[in-house]
């Protein structure tokens, strides 16, 4: 059993009681909702005549279904229009703060909460979305829930949960040029597997993590769930505090010093006990690309697609399924794989620093003929800041489309989607079969800079050759 970790301390501070089942009733400090997983929860509240217990601790936005090219209302898709209307109605009726499109604060839920200082160290955060793990970057316990649990949080601001074990993952040393947080997390998942984290919270630490910006830490924690871990976190430090200082919902005035002291006290103690510790060397991590149908099927960009005999026996069946679905052959290099669509965005990699890194590659180059490339900023604020510093011009001059914020082609619930057997280079988080909107569409996951490199090359290339 872990002891004296941030996870233990935050868990204890939020424990309401131990339930007869032995589970913990845990207070949820921040509840985020969006249009896809909340309407049924509100319907259940109405059915049971229950109010929302802490309406001020829930924040809503619209991200999954929103079009990124034409957001005029009503939306062209009547189902999407129905969903946003339902969210508008629910927020109005229950007094929930809602950042609608055009408010200047709309965006992907895991982008907007941190940028407004809603996400703070030491919180528990839940949202009906598995990438809620993103907020762990601040030293919060943050995890995805289903709709019945959304109902429970609305009605009680608590959840019935079993405590997780804690695995510390250390990345020692310094990442090389062209190697980003996305490569680190794809490397971790490749090594520990897509189910390696089941039952665990991941604590990321070590010099490579300490050197990361908050946005990089968010990318890292975001994909904890792809490794099977429901939540992942980084201990709060000076980088965290600097990011938060002055943000709208961060503590102000005399509260600030008190907050920093409290946050520092929550970080895992030097003698904390972990259920498991794993160490990786930053120098071993290359730009990483997935070749298969799970995020664990990744390789360094200069490696070859593994043959079944290179893999543990338990992974061979899935590898065979992946070769067939992806139409890639074992032993082939991943470099040179032609791509049709290039997508930069998502809660994993739709923040300002992601767009900056991609723009560095796009600058002065052109999207390859026949390739569709588009950039979807993670929020209205990211979009505005990127435009202010000239990133839009760089992308548009290079032939990328510049869109409005939303989840977009990460999961293709809006009009942005693959067609037929198209293959995408994508800065998103899941390469599952059919994930990007075509039942036979294919996805190669990589960092935003690698996606930009693929866009201007028309095929997968090592971004380090373009730096």
């Amino acid at each position: 059993m872990s002891e004296r970790t941030l996870f233990d301390k935050v868990w204890d501070a939020h424990t309401v009681r131990i339930l007869p089942s032995g589970q913990t009733q845990l207070f949820i400090g921040l509840h985020l909702i969006h249009e896809v997983t909340s309407p049924q929860a509100f319907a259940m509240l109405r059915e049971r005549h229950l109010p929302v217990l802490f309406p001020e601790r829930t924040v809503a936005t619209v991200d999954h279904i929103i079009p990124t090219d034409n957001r005029a209302r009503p939306f062209a898709d009547p189902l999407a229009e129905e969903m946003i209307r339902e969210l508008e109605r629910n927020c109005r009726q229950y007094g929930i703060r809602f950042y609608n499109s055009g408010s200047g604060r709309q965006g992907i839920v895991h982008v907007i909460a941190p940028e407004q200082g809603l996400t703070l160290p030491g919180m528990t955060i839940a949202c009906g979305d598995s990438h809620t793990s993103t907020h762990g970057a601040f030293g919060a316990i943050a995890f995805g829930i289903g709709t019945s649990q959304v109902r429970d949080v609305l009605a009680t601001q608590t959840l019935a949960l079993s405590k997780l074990k804690v695995r510390r993952i250390e990345i020692q040393g310094k990442l090389g040029p062209g190697v980003y947080a996305k490569d680190v997390i794809l490397h971790i998942i490749r090594k520990l597997g897509v189910k390696g984290g089941v039952g665990y919270a991941y604590e990321y630490g070590g010099s490579a993590i300490e050197a990361m910006s908050m946005e990089e830490r968010m990318t890292l924690c975001n994909m904890s769930i792809e490794g099977g871990a429901r939540c992942g976190y980084v201990n709060p430090d000076a980088v965290t505090f600097e990011y938060l200082r002055g943000r709208e919902f961060a503590p102000q005035g005399s509260d600030w010093e008190e907050a920093v002291a409290w946050w520092r006290s929550l970080a895992s103690d030097a003698d904390a006990r972990y259920d498991d510790v794993v160490v990786f060397q930053a120098a071993d991590i290359a730009p990483t690309v997935t070749w298969g149908i799970t995020p664990g099927q990744g390789i360094g960009v200069n490696e070859r697609i593994p043959a079944p005999e290179d893999l543990p026996e338990s992974e061979r069946e899935l590898a065979k399924e992946a070769y067939a679905y992806m139409d890639l052959q074992p032993g082939d290099p991943i470099v040179g794989t032609p791509v049709d669509v290039c997508f930069i965005g998502s809660c994993t990699n739709g923040r300002l620093s992601d767009l900056r890194e991609a723009a560095k590659i796009a600058k002065g180059r052109r999207v390859a003929p026949g390739v569709k490339a588009f950039v979807v900023p993670g929020s209205e604020r990211v979009k505005q800041e990127a435009e202010q510093e000239g990133l839009r011009e760089i992308f548009e001059a290079a032939g990328f489309e510049w869109r409005d914020p939303g989840c977009s082609m990460c999961l293709a619930m809006n009009p942005d989607r693959l067609v037929g057997r198209q293959i995408s280079a994508s800065s998103s988080n899941r390469n599952f079969k059919g994930r990007q909107g075509s039942p036979s569409g294919r996805t190669l996951l990589m960092s935003p800079a690698m996606v930009a490199a693929a866009a201007v090359s028309g095929k997968v290339v090592d971004v380090r050759t373009l730096l």
């Binding site: 007869p20 400090g29 997983t37 709709t147 649990q149 429970d152 009605a155 907050a259 899941r430």
Partner: protein
Amino acid sequence: MPSEVLTITGRGIPLLGNDIDTDRIIPARFLKCVTFDGLGQHVFADDRAQDPGQHPFDQPQYQGSQILVVNANFGCGSSREHAPQALAKWGIRALIGESFAEIFFGNCLALGIPCVTAPPAVIQALQKAVAEDPQLQLTLDLPNKQVRWGENTAAVEIPQGAWQMLVQGTWDATGQLLAAKAQIQQVAASLPYVRWQQAR
């Protein structure tokens, strides 16, 4: 409303493969809805369309089956409760597998659907037995943590907390959680950030 989940008896349906994610169980385009009604017909929509008539959920011998037998890391990926809802509306009442992704497991629990685990050898034997005789009756006996079929009995596992919630009928947690309202208010008052963020 909540009731004890004790013994589930019914025919099985085997679904082979590891890491079957919730996008495959219910593709995202079917999430454009404000109720869960009607999801049952779309369960595994893309997988079924790929191989018309060959998917277990389409095969006539498995129609009406209630116990889904799966391999490792079933339900990984997206947190969408639409996945267990679609399975439940198709007719699934219990899952037996090598392992389950955590959010999926919790979503099933919140609907009173047990996900129990057994070692790979047991799962494979069970999948084979069901494939050979789709009429075979399986019994998931939760109080005794057993699955029984034909002459066979095997132990199954389920975390203690989830097990208690199912057998005691407290898997729909809202009422129980709300009973501690005073303690909830106390914890809220003890958290400094609740104060810092007040009235903003």
